[in-house]
């Protein structure tokens, strides 16, 4: 049996990789993918706890997180297309104003 702490450590490493990516990356799509990475790290934690406590709720949270991630991908990529159409660039330093 793999101990619970191993899953938590792996999840922490993946979450930190995602957080570093959000800080380091300048491309809007890359930042977006790093956010998905962080969501998946949290999902791994929830499923590990769900499995170790023999409790289905954690998996239902993951189910809802996945739905929210799908909705977020739809809206976010529409935003990316709108930004690209208006600025001809996806660098997040060029879109630091909320107006066009």
């Amino acid at each position: 049996m793999v101990p619970l702490s191993w899953y938590l450590a792996l999840s922490a490493v993946l979450f930190t990789i995602g957080a570093v990516g959000v800080f380091v990356k300048r491309n809007v799509i890359s930042i977006f993918m790093c956010i998905e990475l962080m969501l998946n790290a949290v999902n791994l934690t929830l499923i590990a706890f769900s499995s170790f406590y023999r409790e289905i709720s954690g998996q239902l949270f993951v189910f809802i997180v996945m739905t929210v991630a799908a909705a977020e991908a739809g809206v976010g990529l529409a935003l990316v297309i709108a930004i690209f159409r208006n600025r001809q660039s996806l660098n997040s330093d060029d879109v630091d104003l909320l107006k066009l």
């Binding site: 049996m1 793999v2 101990p3 702490s5 191993w6 899953y7 938590l8 450590a9 792996l10 922490a12 490493v13 993946l14 930190t16 990789i17 995602g18 957080a19 570093v20 990516g21 800080f23 380091v24 990356k25 300048r26 491309n27 890359s30 993918m33 790093c34 998905e36 990475l37 998946n40 791994l44 499923i47 769900s50 499995s51 170790f52 406590y53 023999r54 409790e55 289905i56 709720s57 998996q59 239902l60 189910f63 809802i64 996945m66 739905t67 929210v68 799908a70 909705a71 977020e72 991908a73 739809g74 809206v75 990529l77 529409a78 935003l79 990316v80 297309i81 709108a82 690209f84 996806l90």
Partner: protein, 167 residues
């Protein structure tokens, strides 16, 4: 070391490598492909944690639907490479130190002090579609219904945002 630990370690190394590849690749397209590999590793881990349904959903929804959407947009906008932003912001290098310290502290805490939970029941819990569906339609009916409103908002929002302005 048993077979389960070896399986976990292989998948952990693969997923951390894929995660590093996501943030180290210059081209967003290669980042997206690395992310698909990471999702596949995580799906295997889910199955090893008796969450078969979510493992399948991870492959179908994440690796299948969401990442195809990402790759579609990357190829539609024809994004080749991003300029190395780190060279422009040398002072941000210092951010690496608190991040590394936080991660190290977190891992040491996880490995040292986390107590293994005692099982509530002896019967192993299997995350198949029956138990997931039962939970969704009884205890968590309200969040489940609210999710449908969220998806409706996402559909309308993405249509409004991606629409071309009429002149």
């Amino acid at each position: 070391m048993g077979l389960e630990q070896i399986f976990f370690l292989i998948l952990a190394v693969l997923s951390v490598g894929a995660g590093l590849s996501v943030i180290l690749q210059k081209s967003p397209l290669y980042s997206a492909f690395s992310l698909i590999g990471l999702f596949a590793c995580l799906a295997a881990l889910y199955v090893s944690l008796q969450a078969q349904f979510l493992g399948a959903i991870q492959i179908i929804v994440y690796a299948g639907a969401i990442m195809v959407l990402f790759i579609f947009v990357i190829m539609l906008l024809n994004i080749r490479k991003e300029e190395s932003a780190l060279d422009k912001y040398k002072y941000l290098y210092i951010l690496a130190v608190p991040f590394a310290i936080t991660l190290a502290a977190e891992i040491i805490y996880a490995l040292r002090f986390v107590q293994e939970p005692t099982f509530k029941t002896e019967k192993p819990m299997i995350g198949d579609s029956q138990s997931i569906g039962y939970g969704l339609y009884t205890t968590y009916l309200m969040p489940f219904e609210l999710t449908s409103i969220l998806i409706l908002l996402a559909i309308v929002g993405s249509v409004v945002l991606a629409r071309r302005e009429k002149d």
